[in-house]
Subunit: 457 residues, 2 copies
């Protein structure tokens, strides 16, 4: 392994300039205007997989954006890794809050700033470079690997479940490796064994055919913005509990062991509030901040729009009001069941003064695995060697719906091997990745293949 | 008067084409990008006042948009009318809902469609043409007249109070005439004797320094969109009563006489709902629709904005949320007092989990006069002769703050002499004015000067 690590250390600068090229492609899957950029990014990734020595590289078509595939299967008898990542990114608005252009990667104070730096281009590129290092130095990998890179993760992986289902045999593996998560904190390498699921809906209300004059009509006609506020307020009680009937029925309670383990983690509420500019923490009563974000389901308003929102004043009684609302789910909540219960509840609380439309956008199942699984432990050793520090075992509040699909369809465990930081602004302006962690991540990934090669199949 | 009316009838087509030129100027006072258009519109109006024979025409500067002034004071011994109107218009968004471009006036089915057609360009132009007809046929007016046209009515008449205060002597008159209101209904000419006042505020909440990932942070950090919804929902009770402490303290109750008179008006709830596409009427309990809009104060959400509002899904926990909220006031509510009580209440109900900013945008006092005032009765006779039908005496839900200023500063009664219709879409897409009513309005205005000339000063 030493000459591989040497090779990685020598190529440090090249890795960064190559990553910048990948980050320059605005592959925003949520916006139709960026369709060509998403396609271009998929091709860039395929070219890169060929360059680093993978075989059978292809853009596998789906009804949406293609899946980039490549493999190297020359390690007879060794385990097979299915590596999953995504080449699409989140939208960038509000653009005005970015300190440097989101698609011109800029290094400041040891961080590389760009949309996709952490989520997920920086982390998939880390594995590309680890594979390259093995291939350049040894002409081979110690394990078999199948790489799939998706172009629709940020829009709910709409077509990936079908893709996996239809390519079950071709994707067969012993373990799934994903680097799309964060460490617990700076200096605390982490292996994640649980993720929350997601249900994302849009609510549209209409109170009149057109916008009306708020003087002539105000007081006699329902205001859909006000009705929407009432409905949203009615979705949680004062203790932060979600009022959708049956919402908590399938929630697996936190174990006492988890609560105790998490209580020992180096979490500083004062610093957390300071880092993110939060006046005061809040949430469901009787749970800590980590428990609230890792192990409890939530309901959040992701967007609100109604009436006049420009500068100044317009005395309009809006005709329509819109809210985007998502729920994070925990084991064993099922997205379809929860979406149905949510929609039933919304229909129940909507007054007859407005026309209601509920649109389900996307969803994903929550996931959890045992952290004494040998692959999870191999990942722990690799990250310990790469970062020189014992890792912690955590859960995460985010959703990577494909993880539970891999578990269900392929029947294999997954390892979440992430090196981003919680303040890397994934999904927000000024997304970034620590340059040093990117580099250590390449080393840790190279070591991961080595560690996994020694796990008994 | 006969030859004046003949003149008006002969010039019908010319009036319409001249009005189209005025409606072509996008004088949107709320949008800084249209500053030059507003200025151009003021100049257009001044030119027109000169053309029709007024004297001392000038653009009177204010810290904002200028007031257009012109007068004719040759009717010794006759009363003096102060005519007030406004040449600025509302914004046009959402533009996509307009069936013809808002600044290319288009006649369809006897209606002229354009922003400003009813509010207020069509109605000020009606008086310009009435003055022109008197001047062309008689070389004089039967009354003295002072015309002031404001360019900031749609942004709260910010500078008009000061202008009136500073020009008190120059603006001295016996009656104020304003045509910026609607008839009660098609075929029901109306004189309005009361208006609601206005307080307009913006609420901004911040829950974190930047947008956060709703997975990683959701459940532990206040969501300002959710908090805003809770706060808005908390502003009214189930009966539609506003919960701001002291809000109703100065409200003058409806008289039994008014309630009975309004109950006889030809108001068809079924048709009203159909006309405006309203699923079900609502409002404060124990009041009819007319009472709710004319004589009761309201609180409305005019705009809501937070987080991701584009197509698709973005799993963001918004950093900020904004609401524009206005209250319509009735006699004797004072805008400053109500604004202060509202702000105090908002500060009280805002949780410590968010940073709150309340910005007061503008306001105006409610107004009411006696409908047996001789000038009001003169206006009733003029509109009866112009439209061939006995008028009704009503109040209105909208606000024209300047009316109460005239009453307070100049100490004269006002006459609201409006010929727009309630479904003319003032402040909404597809604003329009009935072409026949525009024409009858010119005749009625010409008759109004005649009627007023015979009122004993």
């Amino acid at each position: 392994m030493e000459k591989i690590i040497d090779f990685i250390n020598v190529n440090r600068d090249r890795y960064l300039s190559e990553l910048k090229a990948l980050l320059a492609i605005p592959s925003i899957s949520a916006l139709p205007a960026h369709r060509d950029d998403v396609a271009r990014c998929g091709e860039w990734c395929a070219d890169e997989l060929r360059r680093i020595g993978l075989q059978n590289v292809a853009l596998k078509p789906t009804p949406g954006n293609p899946v980039v595939y490549g493999d190297w299967l020359g390690a007879d008898g060794a385990p097979t890794i299915l590596f999953y990542g995504h080449y699409d990114v989140q939208p960038v608005d509000p653009l005005g809050l970015w300190e440097s252009p989101p698609f011109e990667a800029t290094v400041r104070d040891g961080e590389i700033y760009a949309r996709g730096a952490a989520d997920d281009k920086g982390q998939i590129f880390m594995h590309m470079k680890a594979i390259e290092a093995h291939m350049k130095q040894n002409g081979r990998l110690p394990v078999n690997i199948k790489v799939i890179l998706e172009g629709e993760e940020e829009v709910g992986s709409t077509n990936l479940d079908t893709f996996i289902g239809e390519n079950k045999a071709a994707l067969a593996a012993d373990v799934v490796v994903i680097s799309d998560s964060t460490m617990f904190a700076r200096g605390v390498p982490s292996i994640c064994y649980g993720l929350r699921g997601l249900v994302y809906c849009q609510i549209d209300l209409r109170g009149s055919a057109t916008d009306l004059h708020s003087g002539s009509f105000g007081g006699a006609v329902a205001n859909p913005a006000f009705v929407l506020a009432q409905m949203i307020a009615g979705m949680k009680d004062r203790g932060g509990h979600i009022k959708v009937p049956g919402f908590y029925d399938e929630v697996v309670p936190l174990t006492e062991a988890e609560r105790q383990a998490w209580a020992t983690l180096p979490f500083n509420e004062r610093q957390y509030k300071k880092d993110f500019g939060i006046p005061k923490l809040t949430g469901e009563t009787d749970y800590t901040t980590l428990e609230r974000t890792w192990a409890r389901p939530t309901l959040e308003v992701n967007g609100l729009l109604s009436g006049f929102t420009g500068d100044g004043a317009k005395t309009v009684l809006p005709a329509v009001a819109m809210a985007k609302i998502s729920m994070r789910l925990v084991p064993n909540q099922d997205p379809d069941t929860i979406a149905r219960r949510f929609e039933d509840y919304v229909r129940k609380i909507a007054p007859k003064t407005v026309e209601l439309t509920v649109t389900r956008m996307h969803g994903g199942k929550p996931w959890m695995t045992a952290y004494d699984n040998p692959y999870v432990q191999a990942a722990g050793r690799a990250i310990e060697r790469g970062f020189g520090k014992t890792p912690v075992f955590t859960r995460e509040g985010g959703s990577i719906p494909v993880v539970s699909t891999f578990q269900e369809v392929l029947g294999v465990p997954a390892v979440l091997f992430g090196v981003a930081l919680p303040d890397d602004n994934a999904h927000a302006p000024n997304e970034k990745l620590d340059v040093g962690y990117f580099h250590s991540g390449i080393i840790a990934s190279a070591l991961l293949y080595d560690e996994i090669s020694r796990v008994a199949k």
